[in-house]
Symmetry: C2
Subunit: 210 residues, 2 copies
């Protein structure tokens, strides 16, 4: 029997390194696949359709909602973001662990749809570090940085709804910590209902025939 893969949600503060971690997991280990979100927002320069996002019209997105083609979706600052169900289910059935790198509303919707989903929140060791990393990018205005810190404050209030919190102090350690956490989550009894049912059945049969 091929075991189904794990649906993994990775969220984190701006500057947490979640994007790098996801890319490295995909690069290093064959068991991971990343899900590409659909969105109605306009592509930014350098963004590729089908790689960064599936860029779709509002009409198309609403059709996907109606026809239950999305695992989760959320509306954020006037645009829809969502996870097409088909690819995720196909990969999980092939035993691949599928990573969704999404925001918390989507994360909790994914958990509702998939009780076995593993929710991981990535954070730098301190808020000062969040600030320094954003500042260090040299691409964002103080105003944008402030907006992200405010968003962080909002996110900090719901971290306890995630299954795991990974501190990204050292990126190598964080990658391996997340990889191991996903591996071990496969031992959770929630994920082993079928095996336990098999054992129960074997005990019954054994004692019947004894």
């Amino acid at each position: 029997m091929k075991n189904k893969g794990v649906l993994i949600v990775i969220s984190g503060f701006a500057g947490s390194g979640k994007g790098t971690i996801t890319k490295e997991l995909i690069k290093r280990y064959d068991n991971y696949r990343v899900s590409v979100s659909a969105t109605t927002r306009k592509p930014r320069p350098m963004e590729e359709n089908g790689k960064d996002y599936f860029f779709v019209s509002r009409e198309e997105f609403e059709r996907m909602i109606r026809e239950n083609e999305l695992l989760e979706y959320t509306e954020y600052v006037g645009n829809y973001y969502g996870t097409p169900k088909k690819y995720v289910e196909k990969m999980l059935n092939e035993g691949k662990d599928v990573i969704l790198e999404i925001e918390y509303i989507g994360a909790f919707n994914a958990k509702k749809a998939f009780n076995e989903a593993v929710l991981i929140f990535v954070t730098p060791p301190s808020v000062n570090e969040v600030y320094l990393r954003l500042k260090g990018r040299n691409t964002e205005s103080e105003e944008v940085i402030l907006k992200r810190i405010k968003r962080g404050q909002e996110e900090a209030a719901i971290i306890d709804k995630y299954d795991y919190v990974i501190v990204n102090d050292d990126i190598e350690t964080a990658i391996e910590d997340i990889h191991n956490t996903i591996k071990c989550s496969k031992f959770s009894s929630v994920r082993n209902g079928e095996f336990v049912a098999k054992l129960k059945n074997e005990f019954d049969e054994f004692l019947k025939n004894y």
Copy 2:
């Protein structure tokens, strides 16, 4: 800040190898300590007081219950079994991960007393394997084996209340799986409430002073 250790409960079917796994974890890794249970049952030949169990009188055990000195206790076939609280708390405070190798009633009582406890159930891959391992010991009568299989049937019904199920097919793999699972359980958000509170506070302070 020294992180508190994890309270680990290891249970499993007769023949699951849980005893060997516990011994190996203690031998291989410095982070583990094993808790010695107190019991009112008579010592068997070869059993050492303070090593296998603390052998105490019924009066003494009932005094420990009354004076809240036990983390969990249970009565089984006319004898009391329990975990003295003092040693466990001391070790956890020193950052050691404390293993209790106990039966399921005690396991659930430990979880009630210590919400952060990690409950692990160890099982051979099949009931036939349970039978073969018991048989292979050559020390137990068919009658005792049958009693253990019946007990196994009862245990199988409550495995889903454990956090993790580890299949001991290969003992080396099982030891490492349990070791990693304990390591990763330290990332659970339940265990990181203090760190999350620190972050929340830092966001508040940062935005106040911005």
